[in-house]
């Protein structure tokens, strides 16, 4: 077991997959200089043919990755900051997500598009988005959002092996974290399978990416108050492992969905709607969302810092659900 930092875990995932499969290669801005910290050493090991620095041309670059995938390569593309997905939206949706369908299965587009959600970083409105929810409505895309170092590595490896296009969202707030990972065995996790990160009996808290650790911290506080919280991390936003959530809520009868994305149109909204629709009669109280309010992100730290879900706001929501459903 070696202690590995979040970004190094991502690097290791890519390196391992590149060793395993000669079709895997990397494209991105400033990869060779390891600007963002997750490509250190890869140029030396794999050479410039498999570690390609690209021009600023996000839409074109996604299309290039898609085209390369269609002829048998397995590109892993680093778009760096998530907001740079916007210029690439057309190639992501119209080409990567749709080609297999349109051509009746004649082709497939196994690409991984990595990007970092750079929120809570003083980076202002154009760099701080958490846009996974925007792509949720597009069929054909898989969306992954790991919540810790282990998952980041294991899910990135799974994404690279997956046959479908995957949007892989990295939470900037996890960049500084580290964990002990086995160095003798391979770690990999299936896409589409949620993790019960903590078991509990009273409330189900669903949380995404960087908010999972906040939910776990809230669970700890609430434990002291006699409330037993189950924390579910979907790991994959799409496909979303609804069954694991429903099973949990059937047990607890209470539901809080935490999502660092903007509230309207969030994954929290989606899972709250699904829970309400599917197992309404299991619910003992109104399901609640803990999200970022519908605002752009301001530069000044004092305005930004209170916007995102926090341990406190999660705990408060749990208390509210408990209060609304005192055991009869």
């Amino acid at each position: 077991m070696a202690r590995v930092n979040y970004l190094a875990a991502l690097r290791d995932a890519m390196a391992e997959e590149m060793r395993r499969d000669p079709r895997v290669f990397l494209m991105g801005e400033d990869l060779r200089a390891n600007l963002y910290g997750s490509s250190g050493g890869l140029l030396d090991e794999f050479g410039p043919e498999r570690v390609i620095d690209v021009p600023l041309a996000e839409n074109g670059v996604v299309g290039v990755a898609a085209g390369a995938a269609m002829v048998g390569m397995r590109p892993v593309l680093d778009i760096t900051i998530s907001a740079f997905l916007y210029p690439a939206t057309d190639q992501i949706i119209s080409i990567a997500a749709k080609s297999r369908y349109i051509y009746g299965g004649q082709t497939s587009v196994p690409i991984v598009i990595r990007s970092s959600m750079f929120y809570n970083a003083g980076a202002a409105a154009q760099h701080s988005d958490r846009p996974y929810s925007m792509f949720m409505s597009t069929p054909g895309l898989k969306i992954v959002a790991p919540s810790d170092v282990y998952d980041a590595k294991a899910l990135l490896k799974a994404s690279i092996r997956d046959e479908d296009p995957v949007l892989f969202f990295e939470d900037f707030n996890l960049w500084g974290t580290a964990a002990r990972l086995p160095d003798d065995e391979e770690i990999i996790l299936p896409l589409g399978k949620a993790a019960i990160k903590r078991e509990g009996a009273d409330v189900t808290v669903f949380a995404i990416a960087g908010s999972v650790s906040l939910a776990l911290a809230a669970a700890k506080i609430l434990e002291g108050e006699g409330v037993s919280v189950e924390v579910i991390d979907p790991r994959t936003i799409k496909p979303l492992d609804v069954e694991t959530v429903l099973t949990s809520v059937r047990k607890t009868g209470r539901f809080v969905a935490v999502d660092p994305a903007n509230r309207t149109g969030s994954v929290a909204s989606e899972i709250v709607a699904t829970v309400s629709e599917r197992i309404f009669t299991s619910l003992k109280a109104a399901p609640l969302r803990v999200c970022t309010p519908d605002t752009h992100i301001p530069f000044a730290a004092h305005m930004e810092k209170g916007l995102y879900p926090s341990t406190e706001s999660i705990a408060a929501a749990v208390r509210k659900v408990m209060a609304a459903s005192k055991p009869q």
Binding site: V71, R100, S108
Partner: protein
């Protein structure tokens, strides 16, 4: 010259296959057998065939919304194309793509995308893949004068140039994007002049002259195969039909203009060349008869083919759907 004779015969055959295939399709549209609209190419057959003939079935090609002719030019069989227009399960896309996506991957097609300009990055990526795989394959990327204004044009040509990719950007300049004349929306008379802005060769060619197109394309293919990088070719051509058959006619062009171009019909012109070159009438008649038979058989095949099972609607969204898709 037997070889050149047989090549010429093949050019003639393919042009005629395009013309008659589309005539048959339009008839099916008018009879209500085909739904929607058809973007047809009469007038552009020489550009298509001249561009495709220098390629093998292993080389790649990307088409557009107006690409019934392109797979035929690239040597596809007619039956599964016609079945696709008819929405049958025997169609190249099992009925899922239809007229704007008539792509036969078995002859190197990588899709015919109806988002204008979205094919250029895909072609560029295929060329990158081929270069990495060192398989000598070349990618031919068709696009229109309208598409030349999209940002993807610029992003793609720049990347192809810096990486010296084996790709040929082939602009079919038919003078219009739907109703809008290129002279009003394209800032240069010859789109090919833009090649200089990407340090690649640019060629303007008479798109009604299949031999001229063939010659310039052959040069570009050889350059690409030698590893010297991309080329930009602009063929000046014309579509006789409306933007799409099935839409109401519009009057942005004069009857004289259309008539002037019809005088230089590429099939008529090439037939004269063949005669002068010594191909005798019976040989030409035999080609025509064979094409007619093929087209008739394709229509029969299509009309007799079944529709896909409705359950197939949900296939091909993912290679590996992981969880069952929810129904509405």
């Amino acid at each position: 010259m037997a070889l050149s004779n047989s090549l010429h015969a093949e050019m003639y055959r393919r042009m005629l296959r395009i013309r008659l295939f589309e005539e048959a399709a339009v008839e099916l549209l008018q009879r209500g057998e085909i739904a929607g609209a058809l973007h047809t190419t009469p007038g552009q057959e020489a550009t298509i065939v001249g561009a495709c003939i220098p390629l093998s079935d292993q080389d790649y090609m990307v088409g557009t919304h107006r690409s019934h002719g392109h797979p035929i030019g690239k040597n596809a069989g007619l039956k599964r194309l016609m079945a696709e227009l008819l929405g049958r399960v025997t169609g190249v896309n099992r009925g899922k793509g239809g007229s704007m996506h008539l792509a036969d991957f078995s002859v190197g097609s990588l899709g015919e995308t109806s988002i204008v300009g979205s094919g250029l990055p895909v072609a560029t990526g295929a060329a990158l893949g081929s270069k990495m795989q060192k398989n000598g394959r070349v990618t031919l990327c068709f696009f229109g004068d309208g598409a030349s204004s999209e940002g993807t044009f610029h992003e793609s040509l720049n990347m192809a140039s810096i990486w010296k990719l084996p790709v040929i950007y082939f602009c079919e300049n038919n003078g219009y994007a739907i109703s809008t004349p290129a002279s009003q929306t394209v800032s240069v008379k010859d789109i090919a002049i833009r090649a200089a802005g990407y340090d690649m060769p640019g060629h303007v060619v008479d798109g009604q002259d299949v031999l001229a197109v063939h010659a310039v394309m052959t040069e570009a293919v050889e350059r690409a195969r030698r590893g010297e990088g991309p080329s930009l070719i602009e063929a000046k051509t014309y579509r006789y039909d409306e933007h799409a058959m099935g839409l109401p006619p519009s009057n942005y062009r004069t009857a004289e203009e259309i008539e002037r171009w019809r005088q230089r019909d590429p099939i008529k012109l090439f037939k004269a060349v063949l005669s002068e070159g010594g191909m005798n009438a019976s040989e030409i008649d035999a080609i025509e008869a064979a094409v007619k038979t093929d087209v008739a058989e394709a229509v029969k095949f299509g009309l007799e083919s079944p529709l896909a099972d409705v359950a197939e609607t949900y296939d091909h969204v993912f290679v590996d759907p992981i969880l069952p898709l929810q129904s509405a």
